[in-house]
Subunit: 221 residues, 4 copies
DNA sequence: AATGAATGAGAATTCATTCAT
DNA sequence: TATGAATGAATTCTCATTCAT
């Protein structure tokens, strides 16, 4: 709402100019990193500014408050990844099983590895203090995402690939552990406690596979 | 040392005494509720005290600092539920499938409904600021819990009920969505955003069922 | 003003009774020790109570406030020693030189070694926060003491033993280092810094001797 | 790192800059005054700030804590005066008697009249709560000062001007009343109690004179 | 635009004093 | 009397935000 620099055509000016155009996004990167790591309340605006390489005062030239920064951080990171997922789903072809395996494994692997995974933890930690985050998340992420996966499952049921199941529940069985994986990466997984270690990519693959087996109408080899 | 203990008649003592005995746990309840709702940094000690029905100063009669309260909140709530789970597992009999279905559904349903579910969100949100929470959680919850579930899966594999699978991954497929359910209940789920709604008990049952089907060595009806 | 137990004839009751009678003075001892060591503001009433072997509440049965305790501590300790000094001076005989040497050396040696020495430091540290201490000290200690010493010097001048000097100044030359010795004992001297070490008794003797030589009307051997 | 330092013309800079340079010393002045008057524990940081003409928060831009302020107050004020004394001593010539009279009278008169005199009271009052003050004082003030005076006395003994005396004791006879004079100026002397009144300069002169007479090897006129 | 000194409301913690037992 | 749990005013220190330069 505050910063509206879509830095689309790269202003191509002097390095000073280019610098200016990138500031908002550098600040957002810094803010995301620290909000995810420490939480909103425990993050100091001065630390965000320092991490972005500017001074405390400069932050306020681009964002009106710390809370404004939080809103922007969440809507920016989220919208791009969701749009991306929708586009890929639309383009895909083949059986429901194959579609789900490819799409889900790819999208979640990439999400987990990108900064976007931190947003999951941030939302979990902060929604109750900032209700508008909940609305944003539900409308732009949770509902579209559920619908997308739900429609793929329904397609499999209709084609006879899958048993008739409660689509809603299965969506959760699929998605919740992957969301938790993202959350975990930025909480316990970021500590040096061993224990829960495991290759995330392997797990994503194995998990999708396990669920698809659970869904299958006919026994699998 | 000086006066002879005058609580002669009943160890229950006066209401004054009784109060003192209950305060720590009342404070812990209040602290858990607020820490889970707002996060550690955004919770004011005065609010904890007020919620527990005492004054600011009284809190410090029982806990040395806000951080001390955080530590206690986590270790207290956690230890009881884990001990409980271990005990039940030891007592159970029957096939691995049946054991897992009963035990997991019961334990997680109860956990989700109790205050203890909030601890999951709290740990997720605060580990990175308080590393000792990570150690505590890993040692007392994550490792024992994983081992317990892992041993049940292994038992099923050994008996031929289950396919040979990567036990570690399956443990995560089982547990992560249930953990996420707890986390969700205290984040987005506590907001009035609709969307993700669903009967948790139904989901727990359906999820365990889905996984057990995915594990089954022989096709299920 | 608050406690008026002159414990003169020792009530001779039970040990419980005797205890009660001694409380005020035990509290005063504890208060003096801690006030001298840490200063008034940095001393906690609870520490005073503990050191006196009673509970926080008991203290308030004998003294109305922490400040009340301060007043009592000072007037009690001081009055006795001053009265003692006056009495001895009155009883003494002989030359001014001999009188001064004996009296000053004895009185200051005893004062330095008793708890009373702490009162000097306490007064120095706290007068500006509690003006009534200043009045008390001036009236009951500084003026009587100066007068006593001044009259001894005057006696020596009148008899031709001493040069004619500014009596006022000499009183200070005599007294200030001895006061400072008391103050020092409870400040730097109580730390384990070496340096200023020296046998106080030797110094007292040497100092009085030095001054008497400075005063002498005729050269000394 | 980013901007090229724009204070090109004169390092004096704007009034904004000039202010920043003076703040630390203004804060130190305010802190010294209040610590000496009320003692460390009874001084409020907000009062220090107000006396220095800044807000509460500004104080913490320059000093990390109230205790830090105490340390700085002591080391700053002390080091300059001691260095000054050493320099003068080195420059002086003439008989030991003359040297001591001139140097001691001057240095102590100036010290008594400057803010530095307050440091004596402050150290006396606070050493036991802050042991590092003791070390600082011993190393930087007490030992160098004693040595300086001791060497002057020894010079007089060697030259036959003074009787052979215990140098250590005489140093104390000289210094303790002067230290006490400083202490007194900021304790009882600052109250409106009369009594101990006397022109400090006269006393300093008379005291040094008295001691020098006490030291003299040959009778004085 | 950028800086960083200054502000002051706000939060954690302490401690003298009270009072029910 | 004696106790010690409870209180809440007071104090230190922090940090989001402003603004002169």
């Amino acid at each position: 709402m505050t910063a509206t620099t879509p830095d689309a055509p790269t202003p191509a000016g002097s390095s000073h100019q280019r610098r200016k155009a990138e500031r908002p996004s550098e600040l957002l990167d810094a803010a995301l990193q620290l909000f995810v790591e420490k939480g909103f309340a425990a993050t100091k605006t001065e630390d965000i500014a320092r991490l972005a390489g500017v001074s405390k005062g400069t932050l306020y030239l681009y964002y009106t408050s710390k809370e404004d920064l939080l809103r922007e951080v969440i809507s920016q990171r989220v919208s791009t990844r969701i749009a991306d997922g929708m586009a890929r789903a639309a383009a895909h072809e083949g059986s429901a099983t194959e579609l789900m395996r490819t799409l889900l494994v790819d999208w979640w692997t990439q999400t987990l590895e990108s900064d976007a995974s931190g947003v999951f933890k941030l939302v979990v930690s902060e929604v109750r203090n900032f209700p508008e985050i909940g609305a944003l998340w539900t409308d732009e992420v949770a509902l579209p995402g559920s619908q997308l996966i739900g429609s793929m499952i329904q397609r499999g049921i209709d084609s006879g690939e899958f048993r008739p199941v409660d689509v809603h529940c299965v969506v959760h069985s699929i998605v919740l552990p992957l969301v938790m994986l993202c959350v975990h990466r930025h909480s316990l997984g970021a500590c040096d406690c061993p224990g829960m270690s495991m290759e995330p990519q392997d797990f994503i693959r194995a998990h999708i596979d396990l669920v698809l087996r659970g869904l299958a109408a006919h026994p699998q080899p």
